[in-house]
């Protein structure tokens, strides 16, 4: 198991090495490992991870309570956007929607007063990303299942 984990990490693209195209899309998988839509759904509803439903309503996730209305309803997102677009949006939505309120999930620098999770205390010198590379892939895989 240890060797396998190392192999995955070696193949991961570091946050600073992710390339967005002119539209903000990210073509290459961050890990080379196919995303798991079920795990992606869990990440989207978990308050400590994606907490995407804080802002978005998603009919397919309606078993999880309390969907917000700050962002658009994500039903059909997989028809509206390509996999590369969705990866770009989840990695750093500001590259796709200028100045958006939506947080960047795979970025670890450029913050003002970054904190240590929700403790209110200063974060570590090396900030972690909000989601891991594989969690981003899992979320993208789930979003692709949202077809009209």
């Amino acid at each position: 198991a240890c060797a396998a984990t190392n192999a995955v990490q070696a193949a991961e693209t570091a946050p600073s090495n992710v390339t967005h195209d002119d539209y903000g899309s990210v073509a290459a998988s961050l890990t080379g490992v196919a995303g798991d839509p079920a795990r992606g759904a869990a990440v989207m509803t978990d308050r400590g991870l994606g907490n995407c439903i804080a802002c978005h309503e998603v009919t397919a996730l309606k078993d999880a309570p309390w969907h917000g209305e700050v962002g658009p309803v994500l039903d059909g997102a997989g028809s509206r956007w390509t996999e590369a677009d969705l990866r770009g949006i989840v990695v750093n939505s500001k590259m796709v929607f200028d100045g958006t309120i939506m947080p960047a999930y795979y970025k670890n620098s450029g913050y003002v007063r970054p904190g240590d999770l929700y403790t209110g205390k200063a974060g570590p010198a090396e900030m972690p990303t909000i989601l891991s590379a594989q969690q981003v892939e899992d979320v993208v895989a789930f979003l692709l299942t949202l077809q009209d």
Binding site: I53, P65, I101, V112, P114, Y118, M127
Partner: protein, 269 residues
Amino acid sequence: LLGTASGAWSDENATLIVNGEIEMVTRTAAPDHVPFDEIRSGWTFRTEETQVLQMDDFDNPGMIFVDQAIDTWNTAEGSEGKSCASCHEDVESSMQGVRAVYPKWNETAGEVRTLAMQINDCRENQMGANPYKYDSNPMAAMEALISVQSRGMPVNVAIDGPVSETWEKGKEIYYTRYGQLELSCANCHEDNYDNMIRADHLSQGQINGFPTYRLKNAKLNTVHGRFKGCVRDTRAETFSPGSPEFVALELYVASRGNGLSVEGPSVRN
């Protein structure tokens, strides 16, 4: 939908009249320096169940702390053997209108003072007593007692003259996107008020109702306590209650509510 047990939405045009006599302005035209047509008290965003708790002092759990603070007002503390009443006598007359204009410039000290700073200044320099912790329960209670004497009066905080520099600093903080989530106060309370964010109905983040009794933690909450919570929720390193940053932010946010009634202690969820 109205009248269902869990979280009935309030009537948009409901009016807040406390004890059948104090008529509150909960919606009014925005002052020129606020980019809204209308400013709204946080009360207008709460459910009917929460709203009614503020309509009668017998139902308002925050009033218990006001009663406690009346005792404190009359109790001598510190090396000078004085109470608040020794100098300010009757709180109902001496503190009338005070809450409505704070934070304000103190000429002698040459600084912007929040109500909490002024209370601690009197404790330390007039009474020889220990200052309260900035966002502590006794501080919140004393602020509530002083607020009650201005209930129904319009918030009227000065933004120009000697406070203008602090006000500008507060405004800058209001629009800065803090923390790992990179969210500013404006992202939630200006761009998205009236929207749901998960289970919360976003208000304009006004402070005319402070201190606020929250059902969630069953105590009076101070302005800086609330600011700290909101900044923490952006996954940021917060500022401390009483810090120059939060004092500036309080002045700025208070001024965004100029024209709303002083409501403290209000009731929120």
